[in-house]
């Protein structure tokens, strides 16, 4: 199957600290791909490298069949990104921010206005008298999501997209993302909400500190009440598989 995203031996070091170590990954085109790992395992660093925010210390990346670097302007035009910290310009109104993004991604003025108006309505961002700094966390997240999709990208990177968004908003986003992948486009998601990933994604990769791939595979069987067998154990849900692979355990604080 054709890869939308291909990572070969990616490494990222901050001085002597290794954030990602020799990560190789292939994300099939048209898939909804979950990228999971515990805190500090290198998920955001990997997305940072894949979107040009960070320069990898070693390794290569290909997106849509082309080599990707931070200078790949044409490729960036085909990508949509919702960064973990959202990357909003707080003093702007939502429509101003989205219009700026739309215009920078090459949309003409009329198309930009139409799409901004539609996105604001669809995401229920109707408090147009408020600047982004006055929005709630969930609303800000919706704006960042709108900014990621306004130019109809072919590959979408979403870093923790569903946290702080209300259930109705999450449901709408899931619908759009499903339709998005049905059109042959690719979504790359990181999330800590494993139930959501389990229901939404058809494949996942699980990494552990420092950015080491421990498992990659199809998880559609879980949504159909099936199971995944690993290390001779059978897992009927993503959470026990994740905890098993990452070695995360429950710490009991008896005073709490």
């Amino acid at each position: 199957m054709e890869s939308a995203i291909l990572i070969r031996h990616l490494a990222k070091k901050y001085g002597t600290v290794v954030a990602v170590e020799d990560l190789s990954l292939s994300v099939p085109k048209g898939s909804m791909f979950g990228f999971l790992g515990p805190n500090g395992s290198g998920k955001s660093t990997t997305i940072g490298c894949l979107t040009g925010l960070l320069d990898p210390s070693a390794g290569e990346m290909e997106i849509l069949g082309q080599r990707f670097t931070s200078e790949s302007v044409d490729l960036k035009r085909r990508m949509g990104v919702m960064p973990e910290t959202l990357g909003l310009f707080e003093p702007l109104y939502a429509h101003e921010f989205l219009a700026f993004i739309g215009r920078m991604f090459g949309l003409d003025e009329t198309t930009t206005r139409t799409r901004v108006t539609e996105l604001l309505a669809a995401l229920e961002l109707n408090e147009s008298h408020k600047t982004l700094s006055e929005y709630s966390t969930g609303m800000r997240k919706r704006v960042a999501f709108a900014a990621a999709v306004i130019h109809s990208p072919e590959v979408l990177f979403l870093d923790e997209p569903f946290e702080s968004i209300d259930p109705a908003g999450v449901a709408s986003m899931k619908q759009w993302l499903r339709r998005f992948t049905e059109q042959g486009r690719t979504v790359f998601i990181t999330s800590h909400v494993l139930e959501t990933v389990e229901r939404l994604c058809n494949a996942v990769a699980i990494i552990t500190r420092p950015g080491k791939l421990v498992w990659q595979g199809d998880i559609t069987v879980l949504a159909n009440d099936g199971s995944i067998t690993h290390d001779g154990q059978e897992f009927r849900a993503l959470e026990p598989l994740f905890l098993h692979l990452t070695g995360e355990h429950y710490a009991d604080l008896n005073w709490l």
Partner: protein
């Protein structure tokens, strides 16, 4: 009153200051600003104060001279704080303080105590103590009442600054407030140069300077130079002022500033910023339009940029009339050239040396755009070129009305050349400082100094150099600054343009290489 927690917060303020040593640049800045500079400047200024005290006693008018000096210091501290933002950093925002078990009154008090302990105020108090020491050693006054007066004056000065900043903050948040503020500052700033010659010619026409006797600096001067009831009266005067200012501040702070500029709720697609941005080419229009919108919505920018308009007039008028060295009109023109070089960058000076200070995690967004990662750096600098160019034109238009002496048409290219040279060199330095020594700022605070040590050095150093150097050069080489050499600034402007262009290329490359570090700084992780 939770004194223990207040003490902990104050210690935390200094622990945060001290924590800067954990990064290399922080260590350098801390060493230079925290130790070397502070000690050297305090020693120098204390000695200077001592000298001024001695001068006051020797002149036989100890109280009047001390009052004049203290009044000047009071004004300088106030202006330095309001314009440059020193001594106004909140350190702990109200929202942060709410996490701790403190009452509203205690939070308020903690914020003020933390701000008052800013090293900037130590400099002011250092000079005032120097003056007191000078007066005391030469036998004028009583040290204890003088010391109390200095400390009370320090509190009073701080409250004055806070009150003025609260008023200004409320003004700029209102529709038309910036214009009103600009007019007020213009009136205050421009009045003395116009009034003084008139008052000298008509000594009985005005109210004179007797009102100074009712000000806190005069009260402090009385307490410093007298050991009788006059000293008590001096302290009482400062106490009354402190109470009055404190009460006014509490009243204002209880009514938080509310923006009266309310959006209609209807989407407004105004693209005037983009249209202005298009002046520098369609490829830059969207980014420049974005920067214009971003800065124009910033209270600090809305206050400082229009403020530079009256300052332009003030510089031109003041510089060309008071050379201070009894230079002839030809050499006094040197001052005008210095003033015009300052005009080239004064409007955007604080922002140009820390371009990304207020974008926060928005910096990530620029790097995700389908453009050269350094396009944001360059477009921001182009925005400053546009904004500075407006002030240069204003300066050239008002020059014939405010200058003295014979007007020569060749003066215009000379002055324009100086402005353009100043602008390009400053913006070139600003590009490098923005990349190599960036600091995170608070977009929503109208006051406070958000610059790094390098940023402050470039901003203050440039102004001081342009204030002083033309005078020195005119004294050393009379006749140098005259329209016979009208082409020289045009050459320097072209060279400065070249330096700016090379800096754009060089700083862009450094920006790409340092972008991860810049993201960390702007997101408060470094």
């Amino acid at each position: 009153m939770n004194l223990q927690l207040l003490g902990t917060l104050i210690r935390l303020r200094y622990r945060l200051f001290w924590a800067k040593r954990r990064s290399r640049s922080g260590r350098i800045a801390l060493f230079l600003s925290g130790y070397l500079m502070l000690l050297a400047v305090m020693a120098l200024l204390t000695a200077g104060g001592l000298g001024l005290g001695a001068m006051a006693v020797n002149a036989g008018r100890a109280t009047a001279t001390a009052a004049t000096i203290l009044f000047g210091l009071y004004l300088c501290a106030t202006v330095g704080t309001l314009i440059l933002g020193f001594g106004m950093n909140a350190i702990f925002a109200e929202s942060e303080m709410r996490r701790y078990p403190l009452r509203a009154r205690e939070r308020e008090l903690a914020r003020h105590i933390v701000a008052m302990l800013d090293p900037y105020w130590y400099l002011v108090v250092g000079i005032e103590f120097g003056l007191l020491l000078g007066l005391y050693l030469l036998g004028s006054g009583f040290f204890l009442t003088g010391a109390i007066a200095v400390l009370m004056l320090y509190v009073c000065n701080y409250l004055t600054v806070r009150l003025l900043s609260a008023i200004v903050e409320r003004l700029v948040a209102r529709r038309g407030g910036s214009i009103f503020l600009m007019a007020a500052i213009m009136a205050v700033g421009m009045a003395p140069p116009f009034l003084l010659p008139y008052m000298q010619a008509h000594p009985h026409a005005g109210p004179g300077l007797s009102w100074l006797q009712w000000t806190p600096p005069y009260g402090a001067a009385l307490a410093m130079t007298h050991a009788d009831l006059w000293a008590v009266w001096g302290l009482t005067l400062i106490a009354w002022w402190t109470l009055g200012l404190g009460a006014a501040l509490v009243a204002l702070e209880r009514r938080p500033a509310r923006a009266t500029v309310v959006s209609s709720g209807k989407l407004q697609w105004g693209s005037r910023y983009d249209r202005v941005g298009a002046f520098l080419g369609p490829q830059n229009a969207i980014l420049i339009g974005h920067w214009l919108r971003f800065f124009w919505r910033n209270n600090r920018f809305r206050m400082l940029y229009p403020l530079s308009l009256p300052l332009v007039g003030f510089f031109i008028y003041g510089f060309t009339r008071q050379s201070g060295m009894n230079l002839g009109p030809k050499d006094a023109f040197a001052s005008a050239m210095g003033a015009f070089a300052i005009v080239g960058f004064i409007g955007t000076g604080q922002f140009a040396v820390n371009q990304f200070a207020y974008v926060g995690n928005g910096l990530r967004r620029y790097l995700l755009l389908p453009a050269d990662p350094a396009a944001a750096l360059r477009s921001c600098s182009y925005t400053f070129v546009l904004l500075d160019a407006v002030l240069i034109v204003v300066g050239l238009v008002v020059w014939p009305f405010l200058s003295r002496g014979p007007l020569d048409p060749l003066m215009m290219p000379l002055l324009a050349g100086c402005s353009v040279t100043g602008m390009f060199l400053y913006l070139a330095a600003g590009l490098w400082v923005s990349v190599l020594s960036a600091r995170r700022g608070n977009y929503y605070s109208s006051f406070g100094n958000d610059l790094s040590f390098a940023g402050n050095t470039i901003m203050i150093g440039s102004m001081l150099c342009l204030f002083i150097l033309p005078h020195v050069a005119a004294a050393l080489w009379p006749g140098l600054f005259w329209s016979g050499y009208w082409w020289v600034p045009l050459v320097t402007a072209a060279v400065a343009g070249g330096v700016y262009w090379m800096s754009l290329q060089g700083a862009s490359a450094r920006f790409r290489a340092r972008r991860e570090r810049l993201i960390a700084v702007m997101e408060g992780r470094s």
